[in-house]
Symmetry: C2
Subunit: 599 residues, 2 copies
């Protein structure tokens, strides 16, 4: 099993570690120290070596930070983690803070007297983050002091940094050689008169060099740094132990390898105009660029990585068909077992992973499966542990959000299923969510619009019933890379124009606290809209669907669908059956036939 159900931390470990840290803070002549969840690469997952926030506080959420002062240790978490943090930290020693409502700068200014000095590890905070914090703290007389990482000084059994092997990502799957990618980006650098671009995001480096790593769970990326030069050559900084002879051959001579320790000196030696991305580059990187003129700009890999090649889309399509077959076998089993009672959330998660593991192309799950039955379905980021495991009681709605990392693509799918009799209210809510999901699937729009401009289409059916959901409608998805990838997104924050090749999730939901949760999620990708008679002479875009798995017909109230929506659903189900029937056999095949019958 990739997924674990253990409680990874214990609240009682926090206080003695906090006491040790305070001793270090005092010894360093400071009044406090910042402990972020982030590592130097600012990704969603961190290696055990970098899980300092969980080690210190017990809190294991994917975002947050702790500000340790003499009299108080504030654990800043967002709305997703308000409940979880209270169960994971010792509340006598740690104080949860509702972030981003309360901003760190305001909190520090309120807690500290003028002249207070806060230490921070400049490798773990971005240029932009420090800039904002300084703008608030500076005028209030609070100092921000770069220092060595004080957690690393007291964490006796801190795991070593990972040394996961790096593999070449085949050209057939990438669709473009790393030579061609480097040449294109280098030309843009020269146009902007940039001597070198520093890269600190592992998935940017993985995309640029057509490599995949194994340093952290769920994301097949290597911990590494890189510099792309105006001549198209790259300096890649990562441990030699991760690099095979074969990979050396793949990278060729214009990608020069060096140990991570050489990154600092190499930055110090850079001259001319050097670009960094202030939203992801650590403060430490900017500090090293002593001879260069720093130019701030977006990581140049982000947009081309988001616009998938035809080969990447083909890989995603193939991965989704195999993943769809695994999902069907799983759902067929679930439909047979759930009504009997006796299943638990963990059993559901295990079974789903087993079905996926039959695929030799599987490398990991793409995130820990969310399986929430009844009221647990309303906890948007619920992750079951032995302590929270709940029996799937027949009649409850069961929400399963899961995905996988295959060599040829990344998947992410949510289905909400009935486990017994369904109420009219549940059916009405499910159907509204489905209407939103269909509206996006069918959308066509003038080129140039951003995800924000499409987001309302997924919500209007809920809005008209006075309902809504408090998360975005869709996130970008990588091609055998991060399951959460920017800059494309469908949400109120999605200001980047959608372009052909971008892969996104389409996942409206509805949550009734203490009762049930509903989410339906397919992955979709952006294509030029097919020609239509009577259409204007203007470029338009549309979505094409990647995910082929039945949507629970027992949860649909047909009278709430328009004729057009029913047609979409019936065509979708017919396509699911066509594509998967040869891949799903026996009882699961019979289940597929029934599950994809016209409404």
């Amino acid at each position: 099993m990739f997924q674990s159900f253990d409680a990874p931390t214990r609240p009682e470990d926090g206080p003695p570690r906090l006491a040790l840290l305070r001793t270090e803070i005092a010894a360093a002549g400071l009044d406090g120290f910042l402990v972020p969840r982030a590592d130097v690469h600012q990704g969603e997952y961190v290696a055990a070596h970098d899980d300092r926030l969980a080690w210190l506080t017990g809190f294991t959420g994917s975002a947050g930070f702790c500000a340790v002062l003499d009299g108080i240790a504030g654990v800043f978490v967002d709305g997703r983690y308000r409940l979880q943090v209270r169960t994971q930290v010792d509340l006598d020693h740690f104080t949860p803070v509702a972030w981003p409502g309360t901003k760190l700068g305001d909190w520090l200014v309120a807690q500290l007297p003028e002249g207070g000095q806060i230490g921070f590890d400049p490798r773990l905070h971005t240029v932009e983050e420090l800039r904002k914090l300084s703008a608030r703290c500076g005028p209030a007389g609070i100092g921000l002091v770069p220092t060595a990482n004080l957690i690393d000084r007291i964490w006796a059994d801190q795991p070593a940094p990972p040394l996961g092997q790096i593999a070449a990502h085949p050209l057939e799957l990438a669709g473009q050689s790393h030579e061609a990618k480097r040449a294109t980006l280098a030309e843009a650098l020269r146009d902007d008169d940039i001597a070198a671009n520093v890269l600190t995001l592992p998935d940017s480096i993985a995309w640029l060099l057509n490599i995949r790593g194994s340093d952290i769970p769920r994301n097949p990326v290597p911990h590494a740094f890189a510099m792309l030069h105006g001549d198209g050559s790259v300096d890649l900084f990562c441990a030699a132990a991760k690099v095979s002879t074969e990979l050396h051959r793949h990278l060729g001579t214009s990608v020069r390898l060096a140990e991570p320790e050489a990154f600092g000196p190499a930055l110090q030696a850079l001259t001319g105009r050097v670009r960094i991305d202030p939203s992801s580059a650590p403060v430490w990187v900017a500090e090293q660029l002593k001879l260069a003129e720093i130019v701030e700009g977006r990581d140049p890999c982000l947009l081309p990585k988001a616009r998938k090649t035809a080969a990447e889309i083909a890989g995603m399509e193939a991965a989704h068909l195999r993943d769809g077959a695994a999902m069907c076998r799983f759902l067929a089993w679930l439909d047979a077992e759930a009504p009997k009672g006796g299943l638990t959330e963990i059993a559901v998660v295990r079974r789903l992973e087993q079905e996926r593991r039959q695929d030799p192309m599987l490398r990991d799950i793409s995130f820990d499966t969310i399986a929430g039955t009844g009221p647990h379905g309303a906890i948007v980021h619920y992750r079951v542990t032995e302590a929270t495991d709940r029996a799937v009681t027949p009649g409850e709605l069961l929400l399963i959000d899961s995905g996988a990392q295959y060599l040829d693509g990344t998947t992410d799918i949510t289905r909400t299923v009935a486990t017994g009799p369904v109420t009219d209210e549940q059916r009405a809510c499910f159907t509204r969510v489905l209407k939103g999901m269909i509206a996006l699937s069918q959308a066509r729009w003038p080129k140039g619009l951003a995800g924000r401009d499409l987001d309302p289409l997924a919500r209007i059916a809920l809005w008209r019933a006075g309902q809504d959901y408090d998360h975005g409608t869709g996130h970008g998805v990588g091609a055998y890379l991060s399951v959460h990838e920017g800059p494309q997104r469908i949400s109120r924050l999605g200001e980047v124009a959608l372009d052909p090749g971008m892969v996104l999730s389409n996942e409206p939901g509805y949550y009734r606290e203490g009762e049930f949760g509903i989410r339906i999620e397919n992955l979709i990708h952006v294509v030029p809209a097919p020609a239509l008679p009577g259409a204007d002479d203007r470029p338009m875009l549309a979505f094409r669907t990647l995910t082929w798995v039945p949507i629970d017909r027992r949860l649909i109230e047909p009278s709430l669908l328009s004729a057009d929506e029913r047609t979409w659903l019936d065509i979708y189900h017919a396509a699911v059956r066509d594509r998967l029937s040869e891949r799903v056999e026996g009882a699961a095949g019979l289940w597929l036939d029934a599950a994809t019958a016209p409404l």
Copy 2:
């Protein structure tokens, strides 16, 4: 008639005036001079005294400007006026420039050598406008020189500035006394430590003091300036000739009157923190504030003016019922006459204004009626003149966009009507536009969203057919004030949150160049959404309709409407009949019955 059909200018008048202006430019030691459409108040309409751009060039559009240099005179106009400008100016002497694609700063830098000096009248350009222009011109060595208005020196028979009477706007219609408005805004000024706020927008001043003016066509506002002080008192600068004894009484003692000539010295005498709105305040105002600390911020009247009082909404509702009756009489006449042939666009405009003039509350039309038959309907801002007047040929679609200024409210309505047999394609396009208009009418959304977030709802039916329209979906509307009012709007540019009380137009369209134009427009206002069973516990908003006039059922293809949309239309038409049947008699009454029958 309010509306005139004369061609207001002649191209041949331009060249001799241009020659005179160039002599003045040379005499002033300058290399050029800017002639904007705007007056000192930056409104959509200008008095004859201020129509310098039309006098010089012949171009009469509602936006644009001319940059006169030695060898070239560029007339900058946006997409609406590309064709019109070519018919109105002498193309041997004036060069149309596609603005805003070509920016003035870039154009000046390209045309002038380093050291070039461009004169401008600092009363006619805003602080923001000059700042942007300087940022481009300054580094390129082009100087911007405030100077007297060179047009006023050469315009021998320039009309005098208007002296339209100012009337008190009754408290029953305003819903809030000017004393209360001034007190509320003054409190906000004190909170922000602002000593005084300079007001230069006539509709802000009209709203604040509950007055209406008659200086310019279409907008019942007075040309005036004002200063709101932290104690709630106001200095109002306008010609004494406009002010009756009765108005003196209405304004009371804490509104001090002075001649416009006193505005400059009064600005010069202001001290402390003084706020101006850089997007509307003339450069000249900032120049006069020699002793004050200038604080930039939005005109504080804009948002409270946009959020109408219950009394203003009641007035708007009453005005719309009377306007709806006039529209019905007009449409009944049109339906009887148009199929016979022989009507022209001008005859249509005349008849509509006649119907409206029967109302003793009518004060003006709210803009020149757009009546475009056949291909003229596809010209979004078409305004018929004797020269362009076209026969309404039976079978053509006829688009009529019009509105009125009544004492109790402002209207704006578009209906597109059949004049004979209709093609399936026209019917399909009309029905898609109607679906968008219904989608907005039915919308409900979480409080906090802006017009941009609703705009796609009005377009998705067209988008799905590969179609769209190149204008916003809705503009703000004043209550017996400007028919175009900000900051609320429904468009890609609408970033201001919609609030209860805001009045907007809902006017999707579709235009096929050279063939036909379709637009359907109702006014709507924002209300707290009515309670619903099963709704979330979150504040939501909705629209309520102000406009009650039948939508041409002959242009609707029922099979393209959902059951829900048909229900909306039938309920709308039943409500039109209920509300208007007592106001529309005889043949028009019979027409109303037929026009509002269920689909």
